[in-house]
Symmetry: C2
Subunit: 251 residues, 2 copies
């Protein structure tokens, strides 16, 4: 059933009012009619099956039929912090990452990050990214839209990371060692429902050794993601899939 | 180190001759010079560290320095059969799937497959797809290029599937049940090195119920890939990541 994320204030008594993009989507994309059903999710992740009452020129009014008890969210908070790759790669990570359960995304300014943008462009880009994750969250039947942070550097990431239970850095060089082979396994064996994990990925050119060392000195553990070399946009998808497999299918 | 796949006949005595695209890549993209090192992999998956001897206008001649003992291939054969999605999605699955260890890809003609092409177009498309998997195999340091089959229908897939140890169909409807939750876990717990697994995915619109029933009646087991709804191009990447995680990191 088609899903729409709403602000809590859109819900008054037992009805919900959809505006602008969502109202347009209901009327012109889905071509719904009065009496049709759709799903609305509020900011508390409450999921409601609704029935369309009114289709107006500027808004759509729906009535709550019942609250659905769904749980499609990963049991842990997975945050991806990534040396900003080029536009379409970053957007791929956001879209696919959202489908795979991403909770939060942190664009990183690293030594080999090529992408540069000023404050004005940054605002526009983040708006675009927020649209991508919202649509992907709706499409994948999630009850939560991932959050996107403003770009920060590694030093700022270290302060940001203090709130996380586990802190990892995916570093391809460690694929050669045997010790790190199971660091991801170690973390996923020990992570508990409600815990959080922050995983750092390099940009296209990777992190440099000093950057990895800096992260290690600040409590991050290096981890390999199998023996093949993954592109920067593929590695976060492997990580999220592994988390889902271990916590949602194995347990 | 930059990698090139070669035909066995390119290796004579202790030297390898690179032609056309690869020679161009060595000279004009990588701008290598005499004495520089690169890696060549033959059809037997033997991986050689080589040194450049000659850079000619139409070919590059290298000398084998040593055979490298690498093992970056998944320990099992994972074949993805997928209701053909639109061009760029299929290409994404091929590129990312190759990085994640895909052994073989089978484009399927299903009821909801929108993509149609005639024999002439088919040949061109397959050539393009083969270029994508070759480049992705080189980039991800694999020793094997995935194979791509010609498009077939579900009936033909059933004959094709007889050579596989395990046959699965990813079907989102079963995400609701509890029984299928662990079918993937069951298979990956029981699969042994050298075994093969064929996994079927629907196109954008999914497989229809009759198609799933037909596959089930022919020995395929339905399996869910977590509680979220994954797009057709995301689901195979989840599957390959889970296989790698279970067989390369957990074991």
């Amino acid at each position: 059933m088609q899903r729409y994320f709403i602000a809590n204030e859109q819900l008054i008594n037992n009805t919900i009012t959809l505006h602008s993009d969502d109202a347009h989507h209901v009327k012109n994309v889905m071509r719904f009619r009065i009496g049709d059903n759709l799903v609305c999710i509020n900011e508390n992740e409450q999921t409601f099956k609704c029935e369309i009452l009114e289709l107006n020129s500027d808004k759509v009014i729906v009535r709550i039929v019942e609250e659905l008890k769904e749980d499609r969210e990963l049991p842990v908070n997975v945050t991806i912090a990534q040396g900003m790759p080029k536009g379409e790669k970053l957007e791929l990570v956001l879209q696919k990452g959202t489908e795979l359960g991403l909770r939060s995304y942190v664009p990183l300014k690293t030594k080999r990050t090529i992408v540069k943008f000023d404050d004005k462009k940054e605002k526009k880009k983040i708006e675009r990214w927020e649209k991508i994750v919202k649509e992907a969250a709706e499409q994948s039947y999630r009850s939560r839209i991932p959050t996107i942070e403003s770009p920060i550097n590694l030093k700022e990431l270290v302060s940001f990371s203090s709130q996380y239970t586990f802190k990892l850095v995916a570093y391809e060089e460690t694929a050669k060692g045997s010790e790190e082979k199971s660091n991801l396994k170690y973390v996923l064996d020990n992570i508990k429902t409600g815990d959080s994990i922050l995983v750092v990925f390099g940009p296209e050119g990777g992190l440099d050794e000093d950057e990895v060392l800096f992260l290690e000195n600040n409590g991050f553990i290096t981890c390999a993601l199998g023996p093949r070399i993954l592109r920067t946009e593929t590695a976060p998808l492997y990580l999220l899939s592994a988390v889902s497999y271990q916590l949602e299918l194995l347990r």
